[in-house]
């Protein structure tokens, strides 16, 4: 059998503290194919990609590229041997032209050794024409729409003669026609002999574009399928797996909602993000909201809590229409917000856990505005016990905790305010399975204690096992609302990805 592999992964393992992100993953990527990697959040896709592109060194295992083992974990080294990644956050040079972005290394020189801009422009035009793209090489990249910026970055990877290009959610935020263009570009790349690792949540897209598909689940390699022989159902089954049911708390029978509407959005619009969104949150329910990247979910989350305002439409908090709200009003009205990225916001990493807990409760934990330190510690200890946070003392700073415990701490900060509604954003992102299960149990408890939940999550099993209702967003609008048995992966994904 001819070994056609360009990249071999052998027993790659990687842990971050107690979290095993990758467990002895082994498979091969063949030369000149489009190889998709599928998996739920936390399956290990991003860690795997980091290993391949040299950003992280695996704890165990080997990476063999074109026959020789990669011993150095450095993105620059990976670049030099031919591996590159086109990130979601672009690494483009905004202020420069398309041509300058495609050829950042000075490859075109005149006889005197100067930059030959004319040839650079011509070559860029050639490349663009080769892939049937109508982009002006002299245009500043900042002026291009997102799709074209992505394309420019891909063309740079080609221009630099990369042999293996990793594309991470390349169609996120693109509309139908832009997606088409990108997909055909990727296929042309494959035809030119470049190997592509394609990461995407959009199963239909993956089926259309890939040659082979590898599925990861919970850090383990599950299987590799030929795309033409695979079906959506089979892929989802492999991604989600039967065992996972046991991990998630049993779905409770649908609750009867108390009827009172806590939060309502009516025809809320913000150009570029949301269009005529209508949404209602009732008492004692867990409402899930799902949308792929670029569908507007992030903006919706911000607008719900008053972090941003809409251009048109009405937001009603407990029945009363509100003008410009800010977060302190929402907090006073009984709402609280759990941020999706605890490293960016949601915790004060350099302050003690007790101080973290105290932040939204400064009024309650002080006597005539002077902080009652004893009360603060007692309050914090209460939550440490309640949520089983593994931490030496309330004085410890969150930066010293593991991801799962940090998340639980953030949870505590929010729930300590005894809110009537929590807006949760990716509450179990990046934490180990055990902590995840615990947090899910806490979430299910909430409606019983008169707290409603709005759950923004990109993990379908999470939404399915926790929510009473799920609302799906696609391309700035709400495209569907599911209840009861209708809440399942197939229906949600088909609404979100457009079939």
């Amino acid at each position: 059998m001819v070994d056609n592999s360009i990249l071999l992964l052998q027993d790659i393992s990687k842990s971050y503290g107690p979290v095993k992100a990758l467990k002895a993953v082994s498979f091969a990527i063949n030369r000149g194919e489009i190889h998709a990697i599928l998996g739920e959040n936390g399956a290990g896709k991003s860690t795997l990609v980091k290993v391949i592109k040299g950003e992280t060194r695996p704890d165990a295992g080997r990476l063999v590229f074109e026959g020789s083992e990669i011993k150095v974990a450095d993105p620059l080294y990976a670049n030099s041997i031919g591996i590159t990644m086109v990130h979601q956050e672009l690494t483009i040079f905004d202020d420069l032209t398309v041509a300058e972005n495609i050829f950042p290394n000075n490859v075109f020189r005149t006889k005197l050794g100067l930059t030959d801009k004319r040839r650079m422009r011509l070559q860029s035009a050639e490349q663009l024409a080769l892939f049937n793209l109508h982009i002006d090489p002299a245009e500043k990249v900042a002026n291009l729409p997102l799709a074209e910026q992505r394309i420019v970055e891909i063309l740079r990877a080609i221009a630099l003669k990369r042999k293996l290009i990793i594309l991470d959610e390349p169609t996120a935020g693109l509309n139908e026609s832009e997606t088409r263009i990108l997909i055909s570009l990727v296929k042309r790349l494959r035809d030119e002999g470049i190997t592509i690792i394609y990461i995407s949540h959009r199963i239909a897209e993956v089926l259309e574009i890939s040659d082979r598909i590898t599925i990861l689940r919970d850090g383990s390699y599950i299987s590799t399928l030929q795309a033409e022989k695979a079906s959506t159902a089979e892929l989802i089954r492999l991604m989600v797996g039967r065992e996972v049911d046991l991990l998630y708390a049993k779905k409770q029978p649908a609750r009867k909602t108390a009827g009172e509407c806590l939060l309502e959005l009516e025809q809320v619009t913000k150009s570029g993000f949301l269009r005529d969104v209508n949404l209602k949150l009732y008492r004692e329910e867990i409402l899930g909201i799902f949308g792929l990247q670029g569908s507007g979910v992030e903006k919706l989350s911000q607008i719900l809590y008053g972090l941003d305002s809409s251009e048109h439409g009405v937001v009603r908090v407990k029945g009363r229409a509100t003008g410009r709200r800010d977060t302190d009003e929402m907090l006073k009205s009984g709402f609280v917000y759990l941020n999706d990225n605890r490293k960016k916001a949601g915790l004060f990493l350099d302050m003690s856990s007790a101080e973290n807990m105290a932040c939204p409760q400064l009024g309650k934990l002080s006597r005539s505005r002077f902080l009652n330190k004893k009360e603060m510690f007692r309050y914090t200890d209460g939550f440490i016990r309640k949520f089983n946070i593994i931490i030496p003392s309330a004085r410890t700073k969150p930066k010293a905790l593991s991801g799962g415990n940090q998340q639980k701490l953030m949870f505590s900060v929010c729930l300590g305010t005894e809110p009537e509604c929590v807006i949760l954003n990716e509450p179990t992102r990046g934490i180990d399975v055990g902590a995840k299960a615990e947090i899910h149990r806490f979430i299910l408890e909430l409606p019983r204690n008169r707290t409603s939940v709005i759950l923004f999550s990109s993990e379908l099993p999470e939404l399915i096992s926790l929510c009473d209702r799920v609302v799906v967003l696609r391309a700035s609008s709400i495209v569907g609302e599911l209840m009861g048995d209708d809440i399942n992966e197939e229906k949600i994904m088909s609404l979100a990805a457009g079939g």
Binding site: G17, D326, T327, D350, E355, P360, S402
Partner: protein, 326 residues
């Protein structure tokens, strides 16, 4: 045993002791002892008194700087506002012949408004306070100098000059003011809810906002307060010097930032202490006094402060920088 394996794998104990936070005390003691042993003029009462008195003229500025740094902001215009306030009050008293107890509040209102202007630009436009306040620094330096030029080289009226000289038990009142302010404000900083907000804002502004802190409002207030404090300091200094002085206050903003960073505050926000900032100011004063004691030309002052600043921000960056910015 409930120990956490941290994400970095380090054990918690060593990190819980912040050795660095005591260093300013130790360095001060070191410097003072060294100087006392080597120069017999140093520990003499007149010299020490003059050192502390000088401190009491400037401490208000380091208060403002500390509060702003805790939030992750700076106000480089305090030196210019300092100069402006001194001359402006002189103008009100001497030229407009307003009584001193009217002139001072007017000036403080003006400087408070200057602070608000700085704050508004920083808050509304999310502009970098470092850059914006350089602009206002130049602006108000121009205003102050223009005012001095307009007034000519006058001596201030006696009622103005009397303020700084006011003594209680033959000790200038500003020294008492300093001691009282330091103790009270440090206590408030550690224990009062409103002051705690400064730390939250500096540690993670977005988190502070998520949990209901009105970041914009707090920042505006502190910038306004910075204006008022700088104004007050300027009035006291002008009163002490008794006449219009060119280029007064120039370089003070850097001295204050250096003092605060020596005292543990960070350009990246989230840290700071009033007591330690004052000690940082003291250290600088001791060093400069030492230069005088060793008969080094006072022109070297700027160089020394500059070097101390560079060292301070070097250390600050090494300890507190999160990501690569340049």
């Amino acid at each position: 045993m409930a120990t956490a394996t941290t994400t970095t794998g380090k054990r918690l104990k060593l990190h819980e002791v912040n050795w660095g936070s005591y260093s300013i005390y130790m360095v001060n003691v070191l410097a003072i002892v060294l100087l006392a042993l080597t120069r017999k003029n140093f520990p003499r009462y007149p010299n020490l008194y003059s050192l502390v008195f000088g401190l009491s003229m400037e401490f208000l500025l380091v208060l403002a700087t500390t509060f702003l740094l805790i939030m992750g902001e700076v106000d480089l215009s305090i030196g210019s506002v300092f100069a402006f306030a001194g001359v402006f009050t002189g103008y009100l008293v001497a030229n407009l012949e307003l009584p001193i107890w009217v002139s001072i509040p007017i000036t403080l209102c003006a400087t408070g408004i200057i602070g608000l202007i700085n704050g508004t630009l920083v808050v509304r436009l999310k502009a970098n306070s470092l850059m914006i306040t350089i602009g206002t620094m130049i602006l108000f330096r121009g205003v102050a100098d223009g005012l001095i030029n307009f007034l000519g080289g006058i001596t201030y009226p006696s009622e103005y000059r009397a303020i700084a000289g006011f003594k209680i038990f033959s000790v200038h009142f500003t020294i008492f003011l300093m001691l009282a302010a330091v103790i009270i404000l440090e206590y408030l900083l550690r224990n009062h809810a409103a002051f705690k907000k400064l730390f939250y804002i500096g540690s993670n502004t977005l988190s502070a906002r998520l949990y209901g802190i009105r970041v914009d409002r707090v920042k505006l207030s502190v910038f306004a307060a910075s204006g008022v404090l700088a104004g007050l300091a300027g009035i006291l200094a002008a009163s002490r010097s008794g006449q219009t002085v060119w280029n007064t206050g120039q370089g003070l903003e850097f001295k204050m930032i250096t003092a605060a960073i020596l005292g543990g505050a960070s350009l990246f926000g989230g840290k700071g202490s009033i007591v330690k900032s004052i000690l940082g100011l003291l250290l600088i004063a001791v060093i400069l006094n030492g230069l005088v004691m060793f008969n080094i030309n006072p022109v070297w002052t700027n160089v020394v402060v500059g070097i101390v600043l560079i060292i301070a921000i070097f250390v600050d960056t090494r300890i507190n920088r999160d990501k690569i910015e340049y």
